[in-house]
Amino acid sequence: MYKDYWRSNLKILSILLTVWFFVSFGFGIIFSDFLDQFKIGGFKIGFWFAQQGSIYFFVFLIFIYVYLMNKLDKSYKEKMNKNKSD
């Protein structure tokens, strides 16, 4: 029961941290020069990720995490209660 909960938690963490890595270290640094050949408006895309995009994604990632974890916590507590009443 507890192990399932922890495993789901680790799964959520690894997916979100992969996205975290790609939007900052990936698009903002490693592939930044490559992406700079494409433009949206006045922004080169690599430059935009490094100075704007990565920050927006970070905010988004935390709220996704809050949502997923609240859902996971709720189902865990429901299962626990069910076990107790059984």
Binding site: G28, G42, F47, I55, Y56, F58, V66, K77
Partner: protein, 582 residues
């Protein structure tokens, strides 16, 4: 009213607000003093965290730094926001579940060792004092420029205000003043940014404006800026000059360092529930992102405006801000070709970089410097990067009340961070050193008394840093983040996610991270300054980014050493299980 009186008015009003809040939210127990009684709403905590985090460096220096670094400056933007993702996902909820008062508390309990606690306290005090020194310099600059009082008097006024609400109110007082300070500082940051964005691009949203075209033209602002900077001999604004590996390591060191900063972590101990700690980290990052996404826009506007308003301008007709900052010594002009016009381009204007003024005036009325001009280039202007944000409203010719607002905002940013840092220092002394190690028998009342005393002493020391600024403040900032990344972050992360780690491993890891990172930074920043260039760096990583390498080393050594010693006792396994459970 003139700008000066407006500034007094705004600063005076904001200071009385902070004092009012401090009286209203006095702390009456250690629980109140250390963690505000765990009763802070997640949104309020988010704002307080944002104010706590955004220091004089974020408010005053960052945009100026990026204005001159261009794309290289992105390391600060990503580094100082990305850490919050790590904090929210990997640390905050679990440390809140643990439910104690301080960061060394967790390390001491999880690794069942007072030695581990002591190492954590040492790192914490070092990191926090490094940081405080920078805040006090910020307070000094603002006071001397905008209120025209002596820097020392400015620092003393700042100390009194912080003393009042930190010693009286503890965490509770600090939290609610920080909420007010956040409102002041974000308003003060956005108003000039929005004005300037409208003036330059016609777009009221700075985040979009700096990717827009300049007013009445089809040229994109960033394209124009690239062209102008290249013409003046600089690197193109939107291109990197550092190597990718160095940028990678600096960003990583700042991110992991952010997640390991004690004064930020401790903010998440103040919310009522574990789920609130996660939510609160999200709100904190929203409030931080409002400033951090505006900053690069401000940088681009400021660089463009600065060049436009001084290039090829006769010194005697130069805008008044140019002379005001020259009087304080943060701008200098050396007429190398003696044509009376200001020429700005790449390279150092003066030998030894920083100006050393004599009391004489030159032919055009400029302040004469003792150091000789650097004749290897044509640049005539020395400018301290720290002034860009403060000077920006004047450079863009915004009304006086905006200038006054920026001064109040900068003070809010510096004071809120200083207070948060002083509190973690005092808590680690009264709680970790005294209560948990040397004087376990003291009552709660005595502990509260000692907490207030150590806060007072810490404020005095911080004030001394402001009055007698150590020349090495700028160099040691790399230290604070490097050490947080190389010592505290790994100890916390493995404490939660790796049960097998025993005290021997944790202590060996922290000490090796501490030693190797300090040695590397001290070597390049203090001992062999002339060797501080990429051909001598380990793998091409600069001292600023070395905390990341130190962190990896900490992980490896901690895990390796762990296997040579016994597993942690049963109760530690149980404790970790309990922390992980929702």
């Amino acid at each position: 009213m003139d700008t000066q009186s407006l500034t007094y008015l705004f600063v005076g009003l904001s200071f009385s607000l902070y004092i009012g809040i401090a009286i209203w939210s006095r702390a009456s127990s250690t629980n109140d003093f250390y963690i505000a009684g765990k009763g802070v709403h997640p949104i309020a905590n988010g704002m307080a965290t944002a104010a706590d985090w955004m220091s004089a460096a974020s408010f005053i220096s960052m945009a100026g730094l990026i204005a001159f670094l261009g794309k290289d400056g992105s390391v600060y933007l990503m580094g100082w926001t990305g850490g919050y993702v790590l904090l929210a996902l990997l640390l905050a909820p679990y440390l809140r579940k643990f439910g104690q008062y301080t960061v060394p508390d967790f390390i001491g309990t999880r690794y069942y060792s007072n030695l581990a606690r002591l190492v954590a306290v040492i790192c914490l005090i070092f990191i926090s004092f490094t940081y405080v020194a920078g805040q006090m310099r910020g307070v000094g600059i603002v006071f001397s420029r905008f209120l025209e009082v002596d820097i020392n008097l400015g620092v003393i006024i700042g100390m009194c205000i912080v003393f009042f609400y930190a010693v009286l109110g503890g965490m509770k007082g600090i939290t609610y003043t920080q909420v007010a300070q956040y409102c002041v500082l974000i308003f003060a940051y956005l108003v000039p940014a929005i004005f300037i964005s409208i003036l330059m691009t016609g777009n009221p949203i700075p985040q979009l404006g700096f990717g827009d075209t300049l007013v009445n033209t089809d040229t994109y602002l960033l394209d124009k800026l690239d062209k102008v900077t290249v013409d003046l001999g600089f690197n193109a604004y939107t291109e990197n000059t550092k190597t990718n590996i160095d940028i990678f390591c600096i960003t990583a060191a700042l991110m992991f360092g952010t997640a390991g900063l004690p004064h930020v972590i401790v903010r998440f101990f103040t919310v009522p529930k574990v789920s609130d700690a996660r939510k609160s980290a999200g709100y904190a990052l929203v409030f931080i992102a409002i400033l951090y996404s505006t900053a690069p826009a401000v940088s681009a506007f400021a660089r463009m405006n600065f060049i436009d308003s001084v290039q090829e301008v006769n010194y005697q007709e130069a805008p008044s801000w140019f002379r005001n900052w020259e009087n304080i010594g943060l701008i200098a002009w050396k007429d190398k070709n003696e044509d009376g016009l200001i020429q700005y381009s790449a390279g150092n204007a003066l030998e030894g970089i920083k100006p050393d003024f004599s009391n004489e005036k030159g032919v055009s009325g400029e302040r004469v410097t003792i150091n000789d001009p650097d004749m290897t280039n044509n640049n005539e202007v020395y400018i301290d990067r720290d002034i860009m944000v403060l000077a920006n409203p004047e450079i863009a010719r915004l009304p006086g009340w905006v200038v006054a607002l920026v001064a109040a905002g900068a003070l809010a940013a510096a004071l809120s961070t200083a207070a948060g840092l002083l509190l973690v220092i005092s808590a680690s002394i009264s709680h970790d050193l005294l209560k948990k190690m040397f004087m376990p028998k003291i009552t709660e009342k005595q502990e509260l008394f000692y907490a207030r005393c150590s806060a007072a002493v810490a404020i005095l020391i911080a004030g001394l840093f402001g009055i007698y600024p150590p020349g090495f403040v700028a160099q040691v900032v790399a230290f604070a983040f490097g050490l947080a990344a190389a010592t505290i972050f790994p100890a916390l992360l493995m404490g939660i996610f790796y049960k097998r780690l025993n005290k021997e491993g944790a202590i060996a890891g922290m000490i090796s991270g501490l030693v190797i990172t300090s040695a590397y930074i001290i070597n390049f920043k203090f001992l062999n300054i002339d060797l501080n260039s990429s051909e001598y760096w380990f793998l091409g990583v600069s001292p600023e980014g070395f905390g990341f390498i130190g962190m990896i080393l900490n992980f490896c050594i901690a895990i390796l050493v762990s296997f040579f010693y016994a597993r942690p006792p049963k109760n530690v396994y149980l404790m970790v299980d309990q922390i992980r459970e929702p």
